[in-house]
Symmetry: C2
Subunit: 306 residues, 2 copies
């Protein structure tokens, strides 16, 4: 259990950075394999999907899938397949979130967002295509030789991403504008909007490894705390960015939306993120050093500067 004060940790993140870079590269190769460029008719849709999924990004969710799977000695080629499905699905949510009628964001990861680079109709279809293709990928025997494992992955991902998960969270986010929200309500919103996919990322490794339920639960608990810590830190970085005016200011449409920082204030939010990171790490006590990268990640998440 964590105490109430954030502990000063001296973690060397070089091992983590190497692992993050390696998994990002494996992921990009997998997406390139799964979604090759096309010529002629139909090329534009595939290009818009590639544009939206091969655009950098932290690739945290794929990293979580691959790192958690590695604890259970799952073959990397299976894990990267699941990681790609999850990342394509995550990218679909960003494409649709950026649309003019949603968050109206012109930029994504420093580049024009999909509807700016292509057009709105193409962006809607690119998102639809990425989402649908994510599920197709999980049906491949390459994901796992046992169909029961494949169907379990699809069940959990569709729950995490669907109307009672991420899409529901996005709806709450839209409805949250200019409303008074409690910290409990914002936590629920963020758990749906970003936490569910984080949870799937960690659980997927355990599902691939056919781990028993208590082990799955430990990873789920880790993921939920990690997801919240990540979101709070994002909110903190957003405030710093707009205060310093060094980076792109807060996205259009975000004004008036409740965040952890707007409700808790800077100091408490920072404290809370650290507590959550400690708590996330404590859930990994059931694992030996094979989970060390996940422990490092929890610290990194709250200490990162971008």
């Amino acid at each position: 259990m964590s105490n109430n004060m954030p502990q000063l940790k001296l973690v060397n993140f070089s091992r983590l950075h190497k692992a993050l870079a390696d998994s990002a590269q494996a992921l990009n190769e997998e997406i390139n394999r799964l979604l090759p460029s096309q010529e002629g008719i139909g090329a534009r849709l595939i290009e818009s999907m590639r544009y939206s999924s091969l655009n950098g990004g932290k690739r945290l969710r794929p990293f979580l899938v691959m790192t958690a799977a590695d604890i259970f000695s799952v073959s990397p080629s299976c894990a990267v397949n699941v990681a790609a499905a999850l990342e394509l699905l995550h990218c679909y949510s960003l494409v649709h979130d950026d649309l003019p009628s949603m968050d109206n964001s012109d930029l994504r990861r420093g580049k024009p967002s999909c509807h700016v680079e292509f057009d709105e109709a193409t962006a809607i279809l690119a998102g639809d295509g990425l989402l649908t293709y994510a599920f197709e990928i999980l049906t491949h025997p390459r994901t796992h030789s046992d169909p029961a494992v494949r169907v379990e992955l699809i069940r959990r991902l569709s729950q995490a991403a669907g109307p009672y998960g991420m899409v529901g969270g996005q709806m709450l986010d839209i409805e949250s504008e200019n409303k008074e929200w409690s910290i409990g309500a914002v936590t629920r919103l963020q758990r749906l909007k970003t936490g569910e996919l984080f949870a799937f990322a960690c659980e997927a490794g355990a599902i691939l490894g056919k781990a028993p339920q208590p082990i799955r639960n430990a990873l789920l608990a880790y993921a939920h705390d990690l997801g919240l810590a990540f979101q709070i830190t994002d909110d903190l970085l957003d405030v710093e960015a707009s205060t310093n005016d060094k980076k792109h200011a807060r996205r259009l449409g975000d004004e008036g939306k409740p965040t952890f920082v707007s409700i808790l204030g800077l100091e408490k939010a920072r404290l809370q993120a650290n507590i959550l990171a400690d708590q996330a790490i404590s859930h990994l006590d059931v694992f030996d050093s094979s989970a060390d990268l996940l422990r490092d990640l929890a610290r990194f998440i709250v200490e990162r500067e971008s």
Copy 2:
């Protein structure tokens, strides 16, 4: 094999109408069960999904699933689950197609379309929610006790609906505006845009019944011809409607798009629809009278008046 002249058939459609009404009722009950109304937070998203999926419609795809499954003595409770998943997915495609940046249709089945009744952001999320939930439904053991069957259903549905299927067809449809198209290109577009889901509907029954591949192929061939016959008849009815000015004229944004009628002309299009219906029926020769409803449907599809 069909000859080149449409044959005069005297089919009594009362048996078909009864079966269509029964399957539509079972489907609505299933959607109500799967997507119950909600109160409080999150209610708006679920309402928009219910609004877009419990709004009448011919329910042809669910009928095909249930009727094809019945040939293989599949339990109706399994078949209706698959039918509901397919119909929710079909409804998602209509919600997104109607959006201002796509076909910009204010009406759907005589009622305000989802983005008009709710708003654009909600309509995008309602579509995303329906699509994602469709896959979740197929993972339920209620769909089939064998996970290999469930994963095969998901594989085929995601292929039919994805970037190399329906979404790809929708993209071609957008790109087709004001271009010269050959009959071959329009056939390919329609096969992707509507044919793939028709094909899944028929194939799903055979998958649920674990039918051998040649039997699956026969149903697929039937479905492909049926889908094209359906689309040509739709085009014919659209022209009649706009000529007679009795019904809602062609949807905004449809001008300049190639159709079977704009390329073939009225007479040849009508002939072609009839030939396709005959051809569809001939693919069912491998079945006994258990496929009679499918035979009736092929005739009805081209003889209907709305």
